[in-house]
Amino acid sequence: MKTINFLKPNKDNLQVFLYTGSILFFISLFDVFLSSFLNYNLTSFLPDILSFWLPLVFGLIGLHLLRIEFSGIKYLDLLNKNINTSNFNALLTLLIIFIIIKAMPPSLSWFIFDANIAGDTKEACTGTGACWTYIKVWLRRFMYGMYPNELQWRINISFIILIGLAFVGYFAGEKLKKFLTLYYVIIYPIIAYILIYYLISGGSFGLVWVETGAWGGLSLTFIVSFFCLIFCFPIGMLLALGRRSDLPTIKYMSVGFIEFWRGVPLITVLFMSSVMFPMFLPEDFFMDKLVRVIIAISLFEAAYVAEVIRGGLQALPRGQYDAAKSLGMGYWKMHIFVILPQALKLVIPGIANTFLALVKDTPLIFVVGLMEIAGMLGLAKTNPKWLGFAMEGYVFAAIIFWIICYAMSKYSYNLEAKYKTER
């Protein structure tokens, strides 16, 4: 029998190392598991400090013994390669596993096991976990703001129609394909505006008028981001072209405009739209607060879109411009048919990021008194009947926004892959 060197595990004594190593590793995991899920300490007979560190020490020794190079066992090699390359890595691995095991019981109990969802009042929440009753009761307010309950079908119908119309592109025949850009850039926004003006706002065709102050919740977030998205894109495109123009007046005006909006925070822009802008308008001219906010956010985001598109324009080789010019195309023809389609394709990820930033910025409109979801949460939190549930509200909103933003970023990856052209 050969001597066994425990400091250097090797293939010769594979069985010994494998068994001692995995036993130690599993003991350490088992100890942490028991103590966090069943609140039972395996090593309670030891002094406190020792029993606290023991799983870590056992796990480290176990992983060290398991680190056998070229063991020939597929899973062991995979394990070593991925989580156990060195002692330091093993330590980090153990710490992450322990944190996950430790964090699971409290979060599970807060979210599910000790949470309440039954009932309609605060008194129904007796558990120590989350009070989802609060979300259930306030759900309509979080979604629609102060919009009257019996009229909320109007918002639902407009959103369903708009989402349906957004998918027209998938069903359009070959003949209509060339009109799709026209449809999405001009016709669709007009339909959206008409729907929102006549259906959600009301006031004609026998529909009750609902003032924009009552709009709110997640639906307002959608409305604001939708319009800003539609407006900021063409403005940004024009600004990007302006910045690349050879006409000095236009160039420097674009530069000034872009740098100005990019240099100030959105919150001051919103302040400007709500307190300063009315001073610049004739006295009898009234512009709704929502409209002013949408204009402000659109101009703000347009500056960012412009910089992204400029990146795409600069990345195009000169040959593309020269080729288009040699065919006798004018400025607009060249840009619309040759340059912009290629440049925009290049900057899909950048534009997607800007749009994502826009959606994430919309909650800010609450500082000028528009009650979208963050504003509604603030209102619900201070309601005397429902004090003390701030956590549930913010977790709920965070989950919703996370889903929206994550879906958007994943969609942009797909789009990028779809339009990728080899050069």
Binding site: I83, T85, T249, G263, V264, P265, F271, P363, F401
Partner: protein
């Protein structure tokens, strides 16, 4: 129509349009202000402000002027941005490196962190920390000490107060040490270029930066008095810690949210920078006999930093601009103090909003000018 005219006409049209819009706005503003009896002007800055600010780095109360209130707000904004930048850089570098780790668990935890925090609006994160997480902290009388003598309570974080004697001497000594290190570095470089000898610059600098402040304690009359916080009863249920430096919960929530959010973007910059260096660089450096430390210091880092620094500065700028969200949780930053309270009191919307915007604009522009200069300096000089 010749080419020249073709170029001039659109320019004149834009110029007239823009001038027209501006003229229209100015005319209306003039009319509106006349109707309301407001005079345009910045004279109000010298008036007494008569409002108090919760948290201020400089001496301030209601008897000071609006200009001083502006300064208080600006300093608070800079303070929160500065702390946020430090924390976000540290977290960002760690997470960015972790995303490239060969360890499956570390890599995925890091990407989970990035995907999680950057897809939630910053405002919601600030609200979460301020209204939900920090409200769960104990009251001062129930608080337990962290690290011996600091207390994390619902009213803020209390840390021991340092009272300095002759602080200026201490600062001068540090300045002196830095100047000496600079001189030694240039000297060492000269020696290395002329004679090929290498001086242990790092150890010399370390010794200097420790020795100078110690000398200032011994000879310069510098002295620190540490006052540990002790619980003090104000009323039947109101307790605070005194004497102590108290960091308000607004500041803590803001720093937490800003640095955790911005760190995700910095992590992506760091990852891109490290991935952007080709493997051949490392191998080439190793083949000419550089040690691993030298490879990192002389070959990898200069190239990676060239990729990392410009987008990271952009993120610092974003952080500074995002710190204006402080107004939402009533941390007295520039927007809250000046564009909020001062505007409410004076009603001078145009002047105050324009000053606020210009302040942020000049911070952004000065940093981008610096960045452009830096970019030019480190850009690859191709022949």
């Amino acid at each position: 129509m010749n080419n020249k005219v073709k170029k001039i006409i659109p320019q004149i049209i834009t110029l007239i349009t823009v001038a027209g819009i501006f003229g229209f706005f100015t005319y209306n503003a003039q009319l509106n202000m006349d109707n309301r009896g407001i005079e345009f002007g910045y004279g109000f800055l010298k008036q007494e402000s008569s409002f108090d600010v919760q948290f201020s780095l400089i001496d301030y109360d209601g008897s000071h002027s609006y200009a001083r209130a502006y300064l208080v707000g600006l300093l608070n904004t800079l303070l929160v941005s500065f702390i946020g930048i430090i924390f976000s850089t540290i977290i960002g570098i760690i997470v960015g490196v972790a995303r490239l780790s060969p360890n499956y668990l570390i890599r995925n935890s890091a990407s989970f962190y990035v995907e999680f925090f950057r897809n939630i609006p910053l405002l919601l994160q600030i609200f979460f920390w301020y209204f939900a997480a920090l409200r769960a902290l104990p009251l001062p009388q129930d608080a337990e000490a962290w690290f011996g003598s600091t207390y994390m309570t619902i009213k803020g974080y209390y840390v021991p107060l340092f009272i300095w004697d002759n602080l200026d001497v201490f600062l001068y000594s540090i300045l002196g040490a830095i100047i000496c290190i600079g001189v030694i570095k240039t000297y060492a470089k000269k020696i290395q270029e002329n004679e090929g000898k290498q001086l242990p610059v790092f150890y010399i600098s370390l010794a200097l930066i420790i020795a100078f402040p110690i000398l200032s304690f011994v000879f310069g009359g510098v002295n620190i008095e540490v006052k540990t916080p002790e619980l003090k009863q104000l009323s039947a249920t109101g307790y605070i810690f005194e004497p102590a430096l108290s960091l308000p919960p607004e500041l803590i929530a803001l720093v937490l949210a800003l640095s955790l959010y911005t760190a995700t973007f910095i992590a992506e910059c760091v990852r891109a920078g490290i991935q952007g260096i080709s493997k051949g660089q490392k191998e080439a450096a190793a083949s000419i006999g550089l040690t691993p430390n030298q490879i990192l210091k002389l070959v990898i880092m200069p190239q990676a930093l060239r990729i990392i620094i410009p987008p990271t500065t952009n993120q610092y700028l974003n952080l500074t601009k995002n710190s204006s969200l402080a107004a939402a949780i009533a941390y007295p930053d520039l927007v809250l103090v000046f564009a909020g309270t001062a505007l409410m009191q004076t009603g001078r919307a145009i002047e105050i909003v324009s000053i606020t915007m210009l302040t942020y604009l000049s911070i952004s522009l000065s940093i981008s000018v610096l960045m452009n200069w830096y970019n030019k300096k480190i850009a690859i000089k191709e022949k």
